[in-house]
Amino acid sequence: MGQAKTIIEKIWNKHVVHEEEGKPDLLYIDLHLVHEVTSPQAFEGLRMSGRKVRRPDRTYATMDHNVPTVHRNVIKDAVSKKQMETLKANCEEFGVDLADIDHPDQGIVHVIGPELGLTQPGKTIVCGDSHTSTHGAFGALAFGIGTSEVEHVLATQSLWQSKPKTMEVKVEGKLGTGVTAKDLILAIIGKFGVRFGTGHVIEYTGEAVRNLSMEERMTVCNMSIEAGARAGLISPDETTVNYLQGRRHTPSGKEFDVAVDEWLSLASDEGAKYDQTVSIHANEIEPQVTWGTNPSQSVPVGGNVPDPLEVAEDADGVQRAIEYMGLEAGQSIQSIPVEHVFIGSCTNSRMSDLRRAADIVKGGRVHEGVKAIVVPGSQTVKQQAEAEGLDTIFLTAGFEWRDAGCSMCLAMNDDIVPPGERCASTSNRNFEGRQGNGARTHLVSPEMAAAAALEGRFVDVRKFASAVGG
């Protein structure tokens, strides 16, 4: 028996191609996910240097950021259209599999990777997208990279990376009813701030994390980047194995049994040491709503917008955020009206997210003056939701039911929140202008977004019987 190791060290050690004193390690990349926005300049770089994609079989592409979510046979925006056509041409030229806009597997890259079983425990996974941390839910080491690194991985299937520091985020106890994985990660970032993870890979541990489903784990790991972490992951267990069994790219038969043994052996050893450990109690967490312009600026739904005169640090930043958001210091969260509701994004657009939101919506009616849209994370999710009748529930209540894509999370397509208007959003970033220039974003769980759609303002979702299992 060697020294007790974390899953982070185990995966790292298995992937070192070359190490040398005074240099980062050359790390092998098992899976490279590609989308239309951060790849064109990388493919162009390959072309200009006469290089090839080293492992097209370890590369998988889709279109998600730019795609329209209605009338998708006509792409009105010529620049978006060109970007999508460029990805298609690049994939054809370099032999990369692509789920394009017409493909039944198309969807948000961080939704379809797991869905297709491409995402597996122990893999190193990269994508030119910061929310690649999502795949860490499976016990993979998954992180976002820039376009130069995309080109580097295309050409060499490897990256120079310095060994990250490790951090354990321990979540003791149980989440209350009506309190979700989204509230958990917002509460973690709210407590420790937007840069507590810088330079680290986070492993989420503890009873509350073990109890999360795979989809909930993806929500938590997805927002690791919002804590500044290079990646976030969760050691694989039975929940992971059960999710993966039978997926298209997952091994089957005897090979699956071999894979499972290997996957489970990756879990952090008892007594493994982390460079840092922080903890939070799940039972203290309540449904969260962000009031500001970074994801740490959240309070429980029963709370108030803070007063810049009373905050411990960055009073100027708090003041700026309150002004941008068009709020007043001390204002109660439940008094804030919303004009838009967005249920979607790589954080919260999977089947369980839509089911839980539909439970709240069922039999209700979208409040007058509210424009509410549901954007499934993938065309597969969309089909499954329709098979379960969720589309009817949303449509009957007055929601719009869309095709899959990143949509209003970053408003690169036509799904834009107009200047000065306010959106309850299940996405991951409430930055200034994120959902449209001058748009005001409040991050919440799918249940909380659904409730806000019906009431026209933020309300405590726990007052809905369906949220507390009644």
Partner: protein, 193 residues
């Protein structure tokens, strides 16, 4: 990539924390398939009104900072999206050095691929630089070889990984470097199958 050894330039102070890459380059400009020409969109929503006119109150529009090539910012500079369009915009606008008390990891890494030197310095130092630059035209001289920043009267040293330092000093094409390890990658892949 152009090597960067020494640089002397005017400081532009941006006294804000958590400047995210959505602010550095808003999403509507990410649809281009080229690498060049992003400078005109730098801090777009802070610099321009809806109608395209300049926002006078935003300091980068102040003529005193025209030609600035060293940006000094606040904590957690470059957080958020991995978009390399952010360093492309910063570089294309004319900045060669970004100084901050802390950087987000992906942005920090992206800088080196584009010939930009990100320098992490203690917050007391960066706040002082910001104060000076808000007060009067303030120049800094950065020496990468010596790992020093000086304003003529005060000199501070900074840390940088030797790998990053060499990459900038030599203006390396990182892929060409990695391809010299191709046999190692081959060997690794043989073990996999």
């Amino acid at each position: 990539m152009e090597p960067l050894k020494q640089h002397t330039g005017l400081v532009y102070p941006l006294n804000r924390t958590n400047v995210d890459t959505d602010q550095i380059i808003p999403k509507q400009f990410l649809k281009r398939i080229e690498r060049q020409g992003f400078g005109q969109f730098l801090f777009y929503n802070w610099r321009f009104n809806e109608d395209g006119s300049k926002k006078e109150e935003f300091s980068l529009n102040d003529p005193v900072y025209e030609g600035a090539s060293i940006l000094v910012g606040g904590e957690n500079f470059g957080c958020g999206s991995s978009r390399e369009h952010a360093p492309w915009a910063i570089q294309d606008f004319g900045f060669k050095v970004v100084i901050a008390p802390s950087f987000a990891d992906i942005f920090y890494n992206n800088c080196f691929k584009n010939g930009i030197l990100p320098i992490q310095l203690p917050i007391e130092t960066t706040e002082n630089m910001i104060k000076e630059a808000e007060d009067h035209p303030y120049e800094l001289k950065v020496d990468l070889e010596k790992q020093e920043v000086t304003d003529g009267s005060r000199t501070v040293s900074f840390d940088i990984q030797p790998y990053h330092k060499e990459m900038l000093l030599n203006g390396w094409d990182e892929i060409a470097v990695t391809l010299t390890y191709q046999d190692k990658i081959d060997q690794y892949e043989q073990k996999l199958s």
